[in-house]
Amino acid sequence: MLRLSIRLQLAHRRRTVLSVAALLLGVATVVVMSAVAQGAERRVIERIRAMGTDLLVIQAAPAPVVAGRARQRTTVTTLRPQDADIIASGSALARVAAPAVVRSTVARSGGRNSPTTLLGTTSDGLRIQGITAQAGRVFDAAEERELRRVAVLGATVARNLFGDASPVGETVLIGRIPLEVIGVMRRRGTDVGGSDLDNTVALPLTTAMRRVLNVPFIDALFVQARSVRDLDQLEREARDLLAQRHRSRSGLPMEFVVRNQAVLLRTERGATAALRGLTLGAGALSLVVGAVGIVAVMLLSVRERVGEIALRRAVGARLTDIRLQFVLESTLLAGAGGAAGVLAGLATAGLTALLGPWDLVPPWTAALVGLGCSVAMGLVVGVIPAVRAARLDPAVGLRRG
């Protein structure tokens, strides 16, 4: 019966192609959109994960008004290196806390300049941020204690200053301070905001604070939780600890800005979920349009084939056989349309990924779901022409056909 159904559909190629065109385009669109959505989601999540999802980044909020006057300076001096120890020892939920100074600067070497970001932190701070050495090594706690003039270059800075040559052992200047390059970082890509994480020069916190910047305060605290689940509670505890320690002149607790990576991840996931919802909506709409096309063509087919249906009844087809045949044909049509759509979508996504700067994920799930939904839709909507075909009076069909 299946072979005969396929042959009958092939006998009306143009009509068959037209009937599945909408479904084909719809499924192909969903497959491509899924590839884009999954690609975007993967990119964002990878960036957040690169920074660590169990991480709090705490900064002191700039006070907009001081003594009744609008504050001009944006540098906030509230946080001190000791705050890291207070949080690490004050909250059982914190695995480790690392202070950091982060400034824009220019690194120079051999007449070349490279605008970059200076990151002064502890060896724990490096680890928390996933900074490891690609070449050479990173600094250790001893170098930190001894205010050693050492630096680890991000790959972008290393290329800008030294080209393809190895910078390990060379000297770079930050401001007027010469620093020995002891390592080059493994590439980290970009952060959620798109900033180049490889355009960074990392120094020991003490070296950065006392030798380069000459400041007693830090810009940020990186606090790593023992578990991602504890992150929200850790944020509350860290805020409390800092509020007790830092009070404004008026006696009110200072404000802090806390970037909770888990919240960021949730937010980003929410955004990509919206995109996924949009894809699902487009998919559902295309299925409906495809279903309408298939029902229309199958009803037309029933009208054209009254003679054939009557003949089948005459040679022994039961009403169930007639219904089954039309459901089978509708399922076959929808399945073929869905499969063609999946192939077209995968081919388009593959070509786009090859030719363009798109980060696409092969949408296997969307492909499977698209195909499955197409087949299921064919099965369901096939009932309409099937019932219509089974209702035909064979005596009338034989006279007409």
Partner: protein, 231 residues
Amino acid sequence: MPDVIAVEHLAKSYRKGAIITEVLKDVSFTVHAGEFVAIMGASGSGKSTLLNLLGFLDRPDRGTYRFEGADLTGADDATLSTVRNQRIGFVFQQFHLLERTSALDNVMLPLLYAEADVADGAARARRALALVGLEPRADHEPGELSGGEQQRVAIARALINDPVLILADEPTGSLDAKSGAGVLELLRSLADSGRAIILVTHDRVVAERADRILVIADGRIASGGPVSTKP
């Protein structure tokens, strides 16, 4: 010879809007195995309606229909479909062959609906085609065959399940005289081999090839009447 068909007081009417047309009012007759019966009547007399009732393609309003001794008047669709598939062969004026489908596959169509899988379906279809002299054209599609050949393919299809009854509705109506004569010859030989043949025609020359002629008029058998033995 046992009765293949025994109908008593069959009646059938059609409703179109408020108008009810009583096509068959009271039809009774029997047909036994090996008998070739022609049904004649004016246009609209109910010949085809009777043939549809005899082939279980329609149900009578009243009366009883015994097929091979069993009363199938109120049988369900599955039972009647099995009877059509296994015990009855149909031949139509317009052949009703599937387009773009080989003669062999057309002949095999009833096997699709056989209750048991038929392993030697293709061989059986070739034997049926050989019986009507068309085995060499088994792979030809209807469009590549003459009218007479197409009707022979339809007869082969009717024969594939070795039925006891063949119902032929104007089987020579679309054929030239020579092809028509060949088809009638074939039907005659099928009757001689023990099958009951009921042929509907408005052509007296065609009807005279049968053993018996039933004439329908005013919804009843006007002449011919019920018979129990072959004349």
